[in-house]
Every structure is written in structure tokens, then in C-alpha cells.
């Protein structure tokens, strides 16, 4: 049922989308077809900004229909959906609140282990496991959020990296719980909602992950478009002015950090459930580093960045590692170096016109 939702426009979004097309580019003309209170151009402007853009429908429609075109690649697609959710999580704190992190894998890992252990010891129901994964990660997120409030970006990078390394060491040492280097084996999941069995081709896995991704994306889109989301952007842009505008800095940061942790936990949970295996790999440093690259590719602060980045990253990885599996890291590194050393600007400049059009279609904004 939830798999059908991407193509079913929400009522509010539907009318707003009509308004968007009707109003065209002029800022001060409100379509008569919209609600009566649109006399104010500013209100119409905001409504148009948050309305669903055609490209968004296209994006999700394509995600839903992709298995028809590539029925054999559903395992890969599942990985993309999970990586996309993980990147979305990082975008919440980095792209919206401006908190840098080199240890986001900590939350992915905790989510994965929580879901795995829950499935092995308590219940094999996927949704219950997912909730447990999100809860476990958000508890860790809440506790560690206080570590990222103080200090400079460098301190934050080091502290987040340190937390992730600590967890890795802990998981490695606490063999009785985590299975150490062998990982958690023998996870078998019940059918999703009692209806859809996990199959070897990854069909259920993909649609399950996509549905979770879509629902969490909807929630993120709503939250980042709220006054709360606006205040996060304020913090990212200029903390001094944010606090001079009455924004309570620490409270907001704790909230968004916890929220992002829950999202990453969900990604970890999905990973554990759909691959039916958890190993130390989920806590490795390269997870956090790759994630940064995903977001750099897609761009931060517009929610779709992580998703598009995940698609490109996984496709690129699929192609390259088919050719030279053990040197995949070289290309990740090269991409990072090129992107940071000006490639980002060049790409953005070259595609400026295209980007503007895409951004307009997606209704997002990229700094």
C-alpha cells in the first residue's frame, strides 16, 4: 500500500502545484484558482516555493518504476535507496544546520546492530525492528549531540570521528553481543506487514526501503520547510545573527542532531534487515567519508542532493568496481580531491543554466 503513495499526489500539494504552473514567473500574480487568501503576493510566493514541482513527481515516479526497466538490478537499487536515506540524514545536520561530522557511520552502525539484534533475539518483524533501530540511534544521537555544541568545526570533526572510532572498537571488542569480526549471522526477517516475503532478487527489499525512504523524505521535506527548518538554516548561515534574532541555538542543534541520528538509524536498520547481515563494516570510517562524497556530488541543503548523489555514487561504483574492484577507493579519493579543488565550482558553473532549471523544478534551493 505504501508503495503506491509516490504517484498519489497529496491534495494540498496538488492544488499548490497547479498554482505554481498557473502563476508562472511573475511574483505578484496569484492564480484565481487558488485559495481566496492569496491576495498577498508574498503568501503566493511561499506557497509556490513549497509546492511539489513536476520534476519531483518524475523523480519518485522513476524510482517506483525503475524495477520494471531493470528487474535484475534491484539489489543495487536497494543499496541506493538505503545510501540515499543515510545521505538525507547527513544533509539534515550538514546542509540545514551546518554541523560537520566525520562519524555519521556511528548512527548507521547502531541502527544496524539494533535491528539485527532485535531480529535475532526479540522479533523478526521488520517494522518493529526499524522503530527499534531509529530509537537506538536517536538515543545515541541525543547523548552525543551535547558533544557537538561547543568548539570549532575542527573540534566537531575530531569528536564525531572519535565517537565513531570508539563505537567501532566497542563493537569489535564486545564479541558476545556483536559477533566481533564475524558479525551478526543468520538474521531472518518476517514478511513486511505480514504480506511481502523478502526474496533473493531483492524485490521486496527495494520496495520496502523505497517506501521507508519516501515516507521519511516526506517528513523531512515538511520539517525543513517549517519554521523549525528555517531556524536551522539561520543557524547554519550565521549563528551570531540567529541568536540576535531570538533563536535558541543549543536546543535546535540537539533536536536536529537527534533527528538526523534517527534517520541514519533507519538506514542502518534497513541495511541489516534487507541484507540479513551486520558486520563491523557498518561502523567503518570509509562509510562516513563516502557519505560526504555522496553529498558533495548531489549538493547540500536541498534534500534531493543526498538522493541524487546516492544514485550517481552507486552507479559509478558499480561501473568502476566491475573493472577494478580493489582500487575503487582510488576513484573515490580522486573524486573528493577534484570536487573540493574547484571541480565543484566548475561543474556548477558549467551546468548553471541546467541547475537553475532543475532547482526550479524541484523547488529546492542550493546555496
Amino acid at each position: 500500500m505504501n508503495m503506491a503513495s509516490p504517484t498519489t499526489p497529496l491534495p494540498a500539494a496538488g492544488t499548490a502545484a497547479n498554482a505554481a504552473t498557473a502563476a508562472g514567473t511573475a511574483a505578484n500574480v496569484a492564480s484565481p484558482a487558488t485559495a481566496p487568501d492569496t491576495a498577498s503576493p508574498a503568501r503566493a510566493l511561499l506557497r509556490r516555493r513549497r509546492a511539489w514541482k513536476p520534476a519531483e513527481f518524475l523523480f519518485w515516479g522513476a524510482a517506483l518504476l525503475a524495477p520494471l526497466a531493470l528487474p535484475r538490478s534491484m539489489l543495487l537499487m536497494n543499496e541506493i535507496a538505503i545510501l540515499g536515506l543515510f545521505a538525507l540524514s547527513l544533509d539534515l545536520i550538514l546542509g540545514y544546520a551546518g554541523i560537520v561530522s566525520l562519524g555519521h557511520a556511528a548512527f548507521l552502525g547502531v541502527g544496524a546492530y539494533a535491528a539485527g539484534l532485535f531480529a535475532l533475539n526479540v522479533s523478526a518483524d521488520p517494522l518493529a525492528g526499524l522503530v527499534v533501530a531509529m530509537l537506538a540511534a536517536s538515543v545515541l544521537g541525543f547523548l552525543t549531540s551535547f558533544l557537538v555544541l561547543r568548539g570549532t568545526d575542527l573540534t566537531r570533526l575530531m569528536v564525531t570521528l572519535g565517537v565513531a572510532l570508539l563505537l567501532f572498537e566497542a563493537a569489535n571488542s564486545w564479541r558476545s553481543l556483536t559477533g566481533g569480526a564475524d558479525g551478526l549471522q543468520g538474521i531472518a526477517m518476517d514478511p513486511v506487514l505480514g504480506l511481502f516475503d523478502f526474496d533473493l532478487k531483492g524485490r521486496t527489499a527495494y520496495f520496502y526501503s523505497l517506501a521507508v525512504l519516501f515516507l521519511l523524505f516526506l517528513a523531512a521535506r515538511r520539517m525543513m520547510g517549517s519554521p523549525f527548518g528555517l531556524s536551522l538554516r539561520a543557524l547554519r548561515d550565521n549563528r551570531l545573527r540567529a541568536s540576535a534574532s531570538g533563536v535558541g541555538v543549543n536546543g535546535r542543534l540537539v533536536l536536529v542532531y537527534t533527528l538526523a541520528a534517527a534517520y541514519a538509524g533507519a538506514a542502518g536498520g534497513l541495511l541489516a534487515q534487507t541484507t540479513q547481515f551486520v558486520s563491523l563494516d557498518v561502523l567503518e570510517f570509509h562509510r562516513s567519508a563516502d557519505l560526504m562524497l555522496v553529498l558533495i556530488i548531489g549538493g547540500t541543503g536541498w534534500l534531493y542532493g543526498g538522493l541524487i548523489g546516492a544514485v550517481l555514487f552507486e552507479l559509478f561504483q558499480d561501473v568502476v568496481s566491475a573493472a577494478t574492484p580493489q582500487y575503487w577507493q582510488f576513484w573515490v579519493g580522486l573524486l573528493l580531491v577534484v570536487f573540493v579543488s574547484g571541480g565543484r565550482e566548475a561543474v556548477h558553473k558549467a551546468g548553471a543554466a541546467l541547475r537553475q532549471r532543475v532547482a526550479a523544478l524541484f523547488g529546492g534551493r542550493r546555496p
Partner: protein, 251 residues
């Protein structure tokens, strides 16, 4: 009736051995147009930073409408009715003016934690933001990314954002600094047109602006108030002339 809206009592700030604020007792009357002037290094910025809560005073008290706010956090002071502009623009560069104003209005109305509400859920706030933008001559730029606005427009937004918090006390820190001639007049008009019930403290070097705007002037030198009074009296004050021209012991 005569109670000052903002007041400092015996304010002292030391940085190590340096006495940056020396026992400053200052009153801002309700509805005042008050300018704070002084040569470089007089301690104006340190004084303003204590008023707004960025720096903690070593001694003394700050009162806003009779309430002791000496230890309050900056964001709490905004909610209590005092907001400021910055000498160097502090704007949300990736937002539009409309969004920035909505942010300020939302925080003023205590909506900052509403994570499921929409930005345009309170239409009256949106209209108010649009009205403020119009008042500060930003209506044609309301949906432009702030980073791409001209410097003069950014200065205007700097004041608009402080104004949107609906302060009873507004601190303007060198509002005209760096604004090119062509955009200067707009800015001066905006400052002149601020509503009368807002008490304004202006920190400024530009004497044209100070004497056009202020009905009262305080002169700060080396962290100490050396004169306080009406513009004509300040202009004639020998101590002030000495501070500005280096007259005095050898003149």
C-alpha cells in the same frame, strides 16, 4: 513616565589589565533618538556587546524597562524587546529577505520549534514580513537570495531584520558604514522614518547622520563617558573638542 527604557548602572568591563568600560551609567529614554559617539578605541563596541549580551560585564547592572537583564542570554534579550544591527552585515546569506524576516517574526511569536507547521501557515505574519520589506524599501528584492543583493540593500535588510523583532529598544551600529553614495539617501530616510515609539541608540562616526538624527548624544572616550547632552551642548563642549581634535593640554 520618566523611567528610562534602557539603563546601565556603574558598568565596568576589564579585559586583563585593560579597562574597556569604566563605570558607565547610561540612560536611554523612551522614544529617544540617542547617539553614542567617540574616537576609535573608545570602547563603543564593547559597550554595545554588553548591552546585547555578547560580552559579560565585570561589574554593574543593565536594566531593560526596569528588569535586570545583566545575566540574560542574547536571544532572551531579543524576546524582552531589544534588538540590534551589526557594524559588519550579519545576514542569512542563502535565504531571501522574505525568509529572513519570517524567521525573525516566527521567533518573536515563539514558533521556532514548530516542525510540522508551514512557513505560510500564519498568513498575517507573511503579510507583516512583506510590509516590513516594503517599509525598508526591499519590496522589489523580497525573493532574491540575500548574498546577491547590493551592499546598500543588505544594509537596509540588516535594519529591517532588527526592526522585525518589534523591539522597544533598537541599537544601530554604524548603519551607514560602507554604503555607496547612491544608496546612502535611502538608508538615511529609513533611519529617519523609524517609528517614534521605538527608542533608538545609534553608534555612528558620520557626524552628518548623528546631528541630523540625534536629539541626545553621549560621548565615550577611553571607556569613560566624558559628555552627555543635547547636540548643541556637545558640539560646544571643550572636553569633546579636545578628544576629537587633540586640543587640550597643549592648546
Amino acid at each position: 513616565m520618566n523611567a528610562p527604557v534602557l539603563e546601565t548602572i556603574g558598568l565596568v568591563k576589564r579585559f586583563g589589565g585593560l579597562l574597556a568600560t569604566n563605570n558607565v551609567s547610561f540612560r536611554l529614554e523612551r522614544g529617544a533618538r540617542h547617539a553614542l559617539i567617540g574616537p576609535n578605541g573608545a570602547g563603543k563596541t564593547t559597550f554595545v556587546n554588553q548591552l546585547t549580551g555578547v560580552v559579560k560585564p565585570t561589574e554593574g547592572q543593565i536594566r531593560l524597562e526596569g528588569r535586570d537583564i545583566t545575566g540574560s542570554r542574547p536571544e532572551a534579550r531579543v524576546r524582552l524587546g531589544m534588538s540590534r544591527t551589526f557594524q559588519i552585515n550579519q545576514l542569512f546569506r542563502t535565504m531571501t529577505p522574505l525568509e529572513m524576516l519570517l524567521l525573525v517574526l516566527g521567533e518573536r511569536e515563539g514558533r521556532g520549534l514548530r516542525f510540522w507547521s508551514r512557513l505560510d501557515a500564519r498568513g498575517d505574519l507573511v503579510d507583516e514580513a512583506a510590509a516590513i520589506a516594503a517599509r525598508f524599501r526591499l519590496d522589489d528584492a523580497i525573493d532574491t537570495t540575500i548574498a546577491t543583493l547590493s551592499y546598500g540593500k543588505q544594509r537596509q535588510l540588516e535594519i529591517a531584520a532588527a526592526f522585525a523583532a518589534r523591539p522597544r529598544v533598537l541599537l544601530l551600529d554604524e548603519p551607514a558604514a560602507g554604503v555607496p553614495e547612491a544608496e546612502r539617501q535611502d538608508l538615511l530616510n529609513i533611519v529617519a522614518d523609524l517609528p517614534e515609539d521605538v527608542s533608538v541608540l545609534l553608534i555612528e562616526h558620520d557626524m552628518d547622520l548623528v546631528f541630523r538624527f540625534a536629539t541626545r548624544i553621549t560621548v565615550l572616550v577611553n571607556g569613560t563617558v566624558i559628555a552627555d547632552g543635547e547636540p548643541a551642548a556637545i558640539a560646544a563642549d571643550p572636553a569633546v573638542r579636545a578628544a576629537y581634535l587633540g586640543e587640550g593640554e597643549d592648546a
